[in-house]
Subunit: 337 residues, 4 copies
């Protein structure tokens, strides 16, 4: 960390900051410029979380140099993480496809979808059973009943199940039914939930918050990992910007940025990012070639009858055409699909 | 709602949409323009949540005309809400001041602050005991111990207590200790928490999410109110934009917008909006004159020693100067302070 | 266009709006719902630009249904545009590479770069000679001298030249030297410049403004095209968001959105979008597979000595490696590179 | 400036950076931490604009410490600027009101408005004659004819005229007719125009760009001031965010931020910021009490017949009511209105 002093800071102001740092057993390196003095702080800055250096007299601003996240930081763990789920693997040269309906709507719907996806070679089945919806008057999910249908689909097909948990309560309900927990964009900042999910030991797909910076996202991963669970899979699903032609703006650059800053695998969710079915195939192709570890995509037997997000769901035929395009692309990009 | 058909939509496409609407017992009014046909939908659109009209052949887009929130909507409840807390009132011509430290850090700190604020005529004491922090390595709050100190401060001074709850678990812990629950920006989308808080019957301060639109915010209020609790107080605390000179961008226009769309009272939190102590007084003055129902402001006996958010906290002297400026301003604006 | 009346609008309010529409020889279709009345407007709405219907008594809001741009609109010109420059083609199944330094810095630098790019099979040479820089103290470009070096490089190699014009004055200076004009992000809203560039009859690369919506971008293209010049090439170069890990946020979804809304070809500029050299190759790969018509990428013989944007420029070796990756990718995506 | 070295940077990497700095006659102060080495750069960093330190081996990132703008920087010119226009003054304890229609639409319209505003005690008359409009099919302004009407209105009433210039061409046309030039949000980045306007010696209202940071805005002011013209008046008119309830988001915090960073006066334009007439009075009240030096507000004799921006214009009666509210507010805030 660097402390930038104000232009008008007195020698006494500077010395007082240095003394505080020394109290915390940190070293201070002064650089006295023509305009301002800056103080380089050397040592473990985490001891400083309760020292408000920025309100000390003469201090202009603090400039952090090193990241606050450690377990998710590539600097400390250079090798890319590989996550095992049942017999399947995310990361490590795989291009993983997570597919399924936005919501589990009934036994037939999810079984039909699972069988179809299985026949396409898809390993991961997604389906929401606890739905966080903007309006309280919209469909809120089937809850436990939905989980049971998902489990039945998994038992029959051998697929791994990914479903969203939205609170400590729904985490507890879902615990025995699912293979991978999903933390949705709206809960990326629900730190208690992150900690609890971190204790379960099951892999977690962590979606990026609607307006979360990449640093905040990796700090959220850190919450899960401090619980001892290093099986975190990131998922970019679009951020909120001024553009309204798409529901969100897919931040495709997040893939190379994450791969530089972290060892965790990263998926792309083109369905939520765009909100428009017609744009999904193009974004899936971009996901493969940009180097993502997979996609999470909404597939529904009859999108026109979906209870939620029908406008962004592919039907079976569209999904199959998509797979036919992605396979040679993955191969040329050196990925196993 | 209006359904805009594609330029190339066939008569059959249009008739099929009309038939679906009729199945839902809604009326369809067609306007056939030179370029496109639009279909006005008349009746209770809430029955349509599971009909994905936008994926029907020939449909270009749906344009919502009426809001999805009802209980928080001024159109249905024109009179401004007035919220009673102990002997105090928020809304109804009052300019309410909610003040206190970001975090409860100890018994002495909170008692000293409460006594000082009480002596200034402040009625509402805030203090965080469960802290949602970006980094898992930052101070996370005193929990129940903090609540007990807050309660002691309230008992001694007669002030009303406002504290943040972050999950179903902390809501349960806090239930008997506080007068007003606060839902923080990061939990505005935690719909289960909103519903539970709505069942307690205690007033709730609902902060706006970091990137929540005003419509989403009023829908979040709707989640609380559908539980039967109409005592919701909105709090604008800055939204996330590209500007970095302030921590967030205070959306001051949210005050007149909310007052047009909703009957709920609205506070402004200049401390979190700006993140910089020096900017807080100017923003508080703006809050009074723009017509807000009050402010929520961070005050700490020794900001330089605060465990969190010291950089944006006022000390006692600064708070007193601020009050001296706000009082005549409130008077001229017709508000009771 | 649809006019949504207020809940409390009277019959007289509604009739007055209808009369105004009739004065403009437009038809009004009323749909009277339970909550509100909406009025569909049929006919050429462009006559309404000086009628402020939204301030008439009883009017709640206007909802536009059709786009304001016509010449750039795919609805009216379904076939994708193909732009000819010298012997080269942009669009029509080509994946065009525009490469070169951010700024022309000297004769040797640009000749060396042009010869290298030519040897790689690149057809389009970019280089800035009038540089719009945030700070007046930064390098502002070589001006006419730079144009002459560019021209020399083009004459020797046969490449086509693309350079930015920033005002009516620099447009005039550049007129005889360049093959393709570039309108930079900061000038996307400089409507007089757009009109003048539209009169030159030379192809124009139109970059998207830092915070321009896709609709505004297509309206800017419309300004060029109303001058009679239909040779417009769009270029997505990142939009401004809250994320700071990259200089801007590349809106990759703009490619399928533009391809749906417009017939104009679209390039991607990963150098300005990310601002970080390390991220450029991944974004170029994404550009190919998402379906863009090409890329505009910064290449410099010695990025460490570039006068501007060195941090985002590739050196020759990096550019060659990139090409080796892009070629098979383009082939599999059905594009000529 | 601080140079942060990568974790894996070698001693040789570090020494090479130091040598480059020394070549530029700058001093390097090394701080070697446990994780990284940082290098404080001392001396005039402006010599470094053509050294791309960030692409040198081992360099992680550059952290700027001091601002790039100087003439507009309060650190170098602590006293607030006061701008004289005819017999009137902006800054220096005045709350200046700039009012008038969005566009000059005819002789009668502007004379009637000027007379009315004069009778209210308003000194500054605004009116657009060259209109930058998103669509080429919208009204583009009366041009020179409009300027002549404005001049006539100024001659009759003694008011000072403010009008927007959009290019070198319109600047030349307007030069003899106006008292204050306005640079609109869309041209804040038109650096050549800024330089030329800086040479005229006439005061300039510089609106903030739609997505310009405060630092970029002050750098734009620097472009004007390097031409020798220090009479710059800033105008905050809302920034582009995700919120759609208002046309833009008024960044009210920009007022205290600017007052800390710069000596230039700052106005607020609530009409463009909100785009909604009903919200204008509340935002004007906020402008007074937050400490702005004035407002720029749209007033039209018959908003319903305005050629542009009618929805955000006040009529005469509304403007008079507003003034009656603002006067006592200004007085209590210590401002002359």
């Amino acid at each position: 960390m660097i402390i930038v002093m104000k232009r008008e800071a007195s020698q006494e102001n500077i010395q007082r900051v240095v003394r505080v740092l020394e109290e915390y057993r940190l070293q201070a390196h002064l650089s006295t410029g023509k305009q301002v003095t800056i103080i380089g702080v050397i040592g473990d800055k985490s001891v400083l979380t309760d020292a408000n250096l920025e309100v000390m007299d003469g201090v202009d601003k603090l400039v952090p140099i090193t990241e606050t996240y450690k377990l998710s930081n590539r600097k400390f763990n250079p090798a890319p993480s590989v996550i095992k789920v049942k017999d399947f693997t995310i990361g490590g040269g795989n291009f993983s496809i997570v597919a399924g309906p936005c919501s589990v709507e009934g036994r037939e719907q999810i079984l039909e979808t699972a069988r179809f996806l299985k026949s396409c070679g898809v390993h991961f089945l997604r389906g929401g059973t606890f739905k966080p919806r903007t309006s309280p008057y919209a469909f809120q999910g089937l809850g436990l009943e939905g989980l049971q249908y998902l489990k039945e689909a998994a038992d029959e097909t051998g697929m791994a199940i990914i479903t969203e948990v939205t609170s400590l309560r729904t985490l507890e309900i879902a615990l025995d039914h699912v293979d991978v927990f999903q933390i949705g964009a709206r809960n990326m900042h629900s730190f208690e939930l992150l900690k609890e999910v971190g204790k379960t030991g099951k892999p977690v797909v962590l979606k990026r918050g609607l307006s979360a910076t990449i640093d905040e996202w990796l700090n959220a991963a850190e919450y899960i990992m401090t619980g001892g669970n290093s099986q975190v899979i990131l998922c970019e699903r679009g951020i909120r910007t001024f553009e309204t032609a798409t529901r969100n703006t897919l931040d495709i650059s997040a893939v190379p940025v994450i791969q530089q800053k972290s060892h965790l695998p990263i998926l792309i969710d083109p369905s939520h990012a765009s909100g428009v079915r017609e744009y999904v195939p193009a974004l899936c192709r971009a996901a493969v070639s940009v180097g993502a570890d997979g996609i999470m995509v909404e597939v529904h037997p009859q999108p026109a009858k979906a209870f939620s997000d029908g406008a962004q769901s592919l039907n079976f035929e569209q999904f199959e055409s998509l797979l036919n395009v992605l396979k040679p692309l993955a191969e040329i990009c050196g990925k196993e699909l």
